[in-house]
Amino acid sequence: MCLAIPMKLSELRDGGQGVVAMEGATYDVNLSLIENPRVGDYLIVHAGFAIEKLDRAEADERIQMFEELGAVNEE
């Protein structure tokens, strides 16, 4: 089952491991499938592995588009 929500990388550890946090809980995560993980990155985690990073700029652009879409509707 895919975890639909990205998790924030809170700590880098040795051996390509890290710690992610979501809603107060923390989980170990294997970082070997992504390039240049950095603390603060939002990660898509599947079966204990980060499989991709969230691109914040792309996310913000889309949120902006949805806001505009919703605003037009109200007029």
Partner: protein
């Protein structure tokens, strides 16, 4: 503000629903309708949870596809795992597999008989088991789509590099794009467009769908799991269908890159090769599976423990095959909600939390 709220913005949902309704009117004027298949089990759950079907016009039908990896795993695969457990081998598996019925019984049954079936959250849990039990053989149940295949292949890479010798995999990996081709060429199934899985696409990339779209002229739209992701994805699909277009569109660009996860792809290409594989309830789909290359036979449980995986038999009353192909909706199965419930599942589609029957049972009854 949690950034996710931006993908749950109710005003935008209303606006998108109105646009979808307009596109559906266009379709109605052309005398057509659209059957859209969501391939991924997590989409199935999200669509049920957010009651997205309730806001769709009647010209748009959403059907669930074969996107639950546990559901498409043959009964014979479970039989082989049970046989290995009974030989005294430690079975390491994702939790969902434990209650899936094989031809006779489940892994939960053999665990009750006293054999070892260990649930792992991550495939690396199998390494821990191998190290903690040096005098035992461990077999990891390596099932899943591309999203799961990448982490499991990391396990193989780790075991080889660290010379772990008491661990092997019972491999039944499956790939999404060949399944799409099998579905659109099946004369009994109607699919006009696919809502493509979010995290499978994160691995294989947008580019992986292009040959399929060129060959079959069926729109493929990659969407995330938030309600606006799904509505916007459906809007794009209807826009294409109403104009007779077919393209790959990536609505989940915040995660899915055009080329996908290249690190994962490289690792998979090193250890795995494409094979024909059988999908439960569907049959053999050419080129839809991945198996360990022969040179890694030592890590392949079928070689190491000389066991064959047959297709096995399922309960004759279970219509999972038709559910997985989108031919029927779960409530059309006579066993649904009566003989078959999540507590007492007859087929895999009711066991897995992302199976269509389980999703309908949980969110869409009555």
């Amino acid at each position: 503000m949690n950034y996710l709220d931006g993908f749950r913005n109710p005003d935008a949902a209303v606006a998108l629903t109105a646009r979808i309704a307009r596109l559906a009117d266009d379709l109605a004027r052309q005398g057509c309708q659209a059957t859209v298949m969501e391939v991924c089990g997590t989409h199935t759950m999200a669509i049920a949870r957010y009651a997205i079907r309730d806001v769709l016009p009647q010209q748009v039908e959403l059907v669930s596809g074969p996107g639950c990896p546990v559901c498409v795993t043959d009964a014979g695969y479970i039989d082989a795992a049970i046989e290995l457990a009974r030989r005294g081998i430690v079975i390491a598996t994702f939790g969902d597999m434990v209650r899936v019925p094989g031809s006779q019984g489940t892994l939960a049954d053999v665990r009750e008989e006293g054999f070892d079936v260990e649930v792992c959250y991550s495939p690396m849990g199998a390494v821990d088991l191998a190290l903690a039990n040096p005098d035992r053989e461990i077999v990891f149940l390596a099932i899943g789509f591309e999203t799961t295949t990448a982490p499991v292949v990391t396990l193989v890479d780790y075991a080889i590099k660290h010379a772990i010798k008491n661990l092997s995999l019972l491999v039944a990996f499956k790939c999404v794009p060949p399944a799409l081709a099998a579905l659109v060429t099946d004369p009994e199934i109607r699919v006009d467009a696919f809502l493509c899985p979010a995290h499978v696409s994160a691995i294989i990339g947008e580019k992986a769908y292009r040959p399929f779209v060129e060959a079959y002229h069926v729109p493929c739209v990659i969407a995330g799991f938030e309600p606006l992701d799904i509505l916007y994805g459906l809007h794009e699909i209807l826009r294409q269908v109403s104009r007779g277009e077919a393209a790959v569109v990536n609505q989940y660009s915040r995660v899915v890159r055009s080329d996908g996860n290249v690190v994962a792809q490289r690792l998979m290409a090193t250890y795995l090769e494409t094979v024909d594989v059988s999908w439960r309830g569907i049959g053999i789909i050419p080129g839809s599976g991945l198996a360990l290359r022969a040179s890694y036979g030592e890590y392949d449980a079928t070689c190491r423990h000389a066991i064959e995986v047959s297709s096995g038999t399922s309960d004759p009353g279970c219509r999972c095959g038709d559910v997985l192909k989108g031919k029927i909706k779960p409530p059309e199965c006579p066993l649904f909600g009566a003989a078959c419930t999540p507590l007492n599942p007859v087929g895999p589609c009711m066991v897995s939390s992302e199976g269509s029957c389980a999703a309908y049972y949980r969110y869409a009854r009555g």
